[in-house]
């Protein structure tokens, strides 16, 4: 034992003179660090109830529950996370995965209560003192548990496509599709929003598992037109996608197209298990009017149920607006045929060039067929009715598109103005731009709409691609008069449109007459919406059919009219778009089946 070892410890008495480490009273206020993982906060303005927090929580501490005042909307489940602090481990993975950044954690860490129930709480709904604290843990921009960037879709360059009608979008390859499918959070907001309620997370999951055939079967459960919808669907699912709030939505449409593209037409029956359907087991015969998306969808699901279905089509080919409205560069005819040929192969008969009401009276169909599904679509153009719109050089977009598909010559002006801001307006603009390019070697076409660019109903990519093809898009103008000189069109006068809808959301445009514009033109195309032609319904029948508001036919939830054998669906009831038509057709098919089964009893 050394003397040093006895003396040295005594030197610590110097601490007596130091300031004590301990303090007299306990700390009352000691805020957590700036990014402390304290109690949860939820910003209801951002939260969409996607449930990714619930999904990633490793303790099952999070449940999504309905909360008063939170509405169920497209892209918003109306549910909000409720957190059980008996289970939470404060790992903050829920915060890291939250696609909207709504869920955060405050730096508050003390919470004392004698009621254990309060510790199961819904941040945002249950008012807490830390609800609006700014400090605390939030998702770092430096890390990512999910990928917000879409795998870019390759397209033909503008100079390679602006003269031809060849398909623009190239489609994903396997690697790209897998990477895109990997981004899915499987929240299901898309399924809730899709009119046909396609099980999108399931087919994306099957694709991710490299099980294309299963993915393809899931597509057909709710949509018999996957090649078509995989190209031109209005993809409400992508608007609802959880990733859309903070980044780019999953390319659901392109993935659907990828899946459908992988299965060759000759394998459809084998993959879908419909090889033995050709011989109908149920005696009933059903007539469908119109071979558009809704009619084809109804025919497909009726055929699957074993009915004998016959479609009557006024035009010489099938597809309706899909063929006669949508240009080939967006939807090639061979892809339309691939979907429709499969439906035909199930025993569905299509009689072309037969206009019901004209060639066969609607009532006569009832003699031969047990039920009739009419999905006749919106094929009549609507006019702006402005002065000069009665000139012979003013056309309807739908008429021109139909004639062009039929192979007829359509007029192509040197300087064209298109009135309308929807997808049809873009279709005719880009079709005419191509024809101008072919005919004159240059494009001079302007599309103008009431809506400003941010609320234009056309898809964003349509606007971008139109401009790439040198068409001019001038949104936010209201057409006033088509100037006619010597019987010829001189141009279109417009005034500034300030707003399109009023406070109630009703169509009620307001203009500023002082701000004017004039587009020179020798041809004007109107594309401001389409109307329905119900002339095939005889006056006698019309009296029996209950009509709804604005000249629409009143139908029940199964698309059955008050005349029990007549079912009506498609664009004339709901839409207008392909996916609504597909959804209507499916529902109507099930309703027809139910109606006929009930009759048997």
């Amino acid at each position: 034992m050394k003397l040093k070892d006895i003396i040295q410890p005594l030197t610590i008495w110097k601490r007596v003179a130091e300031e004590p480490w301990t303090i007299k009273d306990p700390l009352t206020e000691r805020p957590g660090a700036d990014n402390y993982r304290g109690f949860h906060q939820n910003d209801f303005a951002k939260c969409i109830g996607c449930g990714s927090c619930e999904e990633i929580c490793q303790n099952a501490a999070i449940d999504l529950v309905p909360v008063e005042g939170q509405e169920v909307k497209d892209g918003n489940s109306g549910l909000r996370p409720r957190i059980d602090y008996g289970r939470c481990c404060w790992c903050a993975l829920c915060v890291d995965i939250c696609p909207t950044g709504a869920l955060t954690m405050s730096n508050e860490y003390t919470w004392i209560d004698d009621d254990p129930e309060v510790f199961r709480f819904t941040p945002g709904a249950d008012k807490t003192k830390w609800q609006d604290d700014e400090k605390g843990y939030s998702r770092s921009e430096d890390i990512a548990l999910i990928n917000f960037d879409r795998i870019e879709m390759e397209e033909k360059a503008p100079e390679d496509r602006d003269k031809s009608f060849i398909e623009i979008v190239k489609g994903y390859n396997k690697e790209q599709a897998m990477l895109e499918a990997d981004r899915c959070l499987e929240c299901g907001l898309c399924t809730a929003t899709c009119p046909a309620h396609m099980d999108i997370p399931a087919y994306i999951a099957a694709l991710r598992e490299d099980n294309i055939e299963e993915a393809f079967r899931i597509l057909y459960e709710t949509n018999p037109l996957p090649e078509i919808c995989g190209r031109i669907c209005t993809h409400k699912c992508e608007t609802a996608c959880a990733l859309h709030n903070n980044g780019e939505a999953i390319a659901i449409r392109w993935l659907k197209r990828y899946i459908a593209d992988q299965i060759p037409a000759e394998r459809y029956k084998e993959v879908l298990g419909t090889e033995h359907l050709a011989d109908p087991k149920i005696g009933h015969k059903i007539a469908v009017i119109g071979a558009g998306p809704s009619g084809l969808s109804a025919a497909y699901y009726l055929a699957i149920l074993g009915y004998q279905v016959k479609i009557f089509e006024a035009l010489p080919d099938s597809g309706g607006m899909m063929r006669y409205g949508i240009p080939e560069y967006r939807l090639p005819y061979d892809q339309i045929n691939k979907d429709i040929d499969y439906i035909k192969s199930l025993g569905v008969e299509i009689q072309f060039n037969t206009r019901i009401g004209q060639d066969i009276p609607l009532e006569d169909l009832h003699q031969e067929y047990s039920a009739v599904y009419a999905a006749t679509g919106l094929h009549l153009g609507r006019s702006t009715r402005i002065p000069g719109s009665d000139n012979s050089e003013v056309y309807f977009a739908t008429d021109l598109l139909r004639k062009f598909t039929l192979g007829q010559d359509i007029p192509v002006g040197k300087k064209i103005v298109v009135i309308g801001g929807g997808n049809v307006a873009m279709d005719i603009t880009r079709t005419l731009a191509r024809l101008q390019n072919q005919k004159y070697g240059k494009v001079d076409i302007t599309a103008t709409s009431l809506e400003t660019e941010d609320i234009m109903p056309a898809d964003r990519e349509e606007i971008v691609e139109s401009r790439e093809e040198k068409a001019i898009i001038e949104p936010g103008w209201g057409p006033q008069e088509i100037e006619i000189k010597d019987g010829k069109i001189a141009g279109l006068h417009l005034i500034k449109c300030l707003s399109v809808f009023d406070e109630n959301g009703a169509f009620n445009p307001k203009f500023d007459a002082n701000e004017k514009k004039f587009f020179k033109a020798d041809m004007v195309v109107e594309s401001i919406g389409q109307g329905m032609d119900l002339s095939y319904i005889s006056d006698e029948l019309k009296e029996k059919i209950k009509m709804g508001p604005r000249g629409r036919i009143d139908v029940n939830e199964g698309f059955q009219t008050s005349v029990d054998w007549l079912f009506v669906g498609g664009d004339i009831i709901k839409g207008p778009d392909v996916i609504n038509g597909v959804a209507n057709g499916h529902i109507a098919a099930k309703a027809i089946d139910k109606y006929l089964n009930a009759q048997k009893k």
Partner: protein, 399 residues
């Protein structure tokens, strides 16, 4: 080889008449003879490091037989992980060791990265190294207090735990959590360093140096501590390989094995450090060596702070973690914790969940078999000091 210069056990001659008879190398203990008393030290006992117990049989105050018992703390983390997505594992494993959770986080994340073929960005590797070294400092401070406390010097325990709190403040700033940091997410780390963090770490380092200076005088150069620790629980180099002893416990017996130096991971190869060893292998030697390692860790923290790049990514791109599948394979990732080699063996079968995860903590051998052997023939008052000098952490035995 093993110089026992100042051992109270040096001249100790046991009174064999009162000892149990030996039969086939095992003592015959008849409790009914009233010569022996059976005592349970633990699982609730201040001298036990965590929830385990030592069943000892004493003759007077001398331990004649010892048996270690675990099983009070089994939480089944390894099994839990078999039903967790990969991303959900790292918040679980930190709970395996409370005083020093980060080694677990590092190993499990690095194992996933190894299996999935992910290379973490440079800055993330530096931040992980900093985090691990800070956690070694905090871990050693906890142990140091325990070692002094086991000899009745409770004040030192209060000093070190208070100092550890300053380190926890730093962790709170850096990671958002004081105890369970959950910082090393697969692919990198979760947050960049907050502003002014480096200066605050350096302040705390200086503060710690000052405290350690005091502790050196009051504890390491203390006649009582020396007389009680010297010669206690001698581990020979043969025992190191026989029992699989690792870390400072092995290095105090002259085995030059430090994973950070011998098989450097993260950024340790870029740091200057030398292998610290000693050759006596008793409790005092281990205490002194760990004290030196604590000083070394403080130096490493300073080195790391000077080398962390200002800019750069902190996380490698991961696939969508909700359905992250790792290709089939197996790996073993190890790191040097304060207790020695800490490793994770992970098997992936190509699905969303790990097929098997095995956590290898140094305490398994140190606290079960080594303790059982060394506890015999010491006095009951020294048992706590022996246990702490092996630096055992029962939660990592059971997981």
């Amino acid at each position: 080889m093993n110089k026992i210069s100042e051992s109270k056990y040096k001249d100790f001659v046991a009174d064999r008449s009162k000892y149990p008879e030996m039969e086939n190398g095992k003592p015959v203990i008849d409790l009914d003879s009233h010569k022996f008393t059976k005592i349970w030290q633990g699982p609730q006992h201040p001298g036990v490091t965590g929830n385990m117990s030592v069943e000892i049989i004493v003759n007077g105050d001398e331990i004649v037989d010892a048996k270690t018992h675990v099983g009070y703390l089994h939480r089944g983390f390894e099994k839990l992980m078999e039903r967790r997505r990969y991303i959900q594992c790292f918040p679980i494993v930190c709970r395996i060791c409370v005083p020093e959770p980060d080694t677990n986080e590092y190993c499990v994340s690095a194992a996933m990265e190894d299996l999935a073929g992910i290379v973490i960005p440079d800055k993330a590797a530096w931040l992980r190294t900093l985090n691990l070294e800070m956690s070694r400092v905090a871990g050693f401070l906890m142990w140091l207090g325990g070692q002094a406390g086991s000899l009745g010097m409770g004040a030192i325990g209060q000093w070190t735990v208070a100092m550890r709190d300053y380190w926890l403040d730093l962790f709170e700033e850096m990671t958002g959590g004081r105890i369970y940091h959950m910082y090393m997410i697969p692919g990198g780390v979760r947050k960049n360093l907050p502003l002014g963090f480096k200066e605050r770490v350096l302040q705390t380092v200086d503060r710690t140096y000052k405290l350690l200076d005091d502790i050196e005088r009051v504890f390491l150069n203390n006649a009582i501590a020396k007389s009680r620790l010297k010669g206690l629980g001698i581990i020979t180099p043969e025992m190191v390989s026989e029992y699989g002893i690792v870390g400072p416990t092995a290095r105090a017996s002259g085995i030059a094995d430090d994973i950070r130096i011998n098989q450097p991971y993260l950024k340790y190869a870029e740091l200057e450090m030398k292998m610290l060893t000693s050759n006596i292998g008793d409790a005092y030697d281990r205490t002194e060596l760990r004290f030196q390692e604590l000083l070394q860790s403080l130096d490493l923290v300073k080195q790391i702070l000077n080398k962390i790049p200002e800019n750069g990514e902190i996380q490698a791109k991961l696939p969508n973690v909700l359905h992250w599948k790792i290709p089939a394979g197996q790996t073993y990732i190890k790191a040097e914790s304060t207790r020695g080699e800490h490793g994770f063996y992970m098997v992936s079968d190509g699905s969303k969940y790990p097929r098997r995860v095995f956590a290898r903590g140094a305490s398994y051998t140190h606290a079960i078999s080594v303790l059982e052997k060394l506890a015999v023939n010491i006095t009951i008052s020294d048992l706590a000091a022996l246990m702490v000098s092996l630096h055992t952490c029962p939660p990592e035995i059971e997981r």
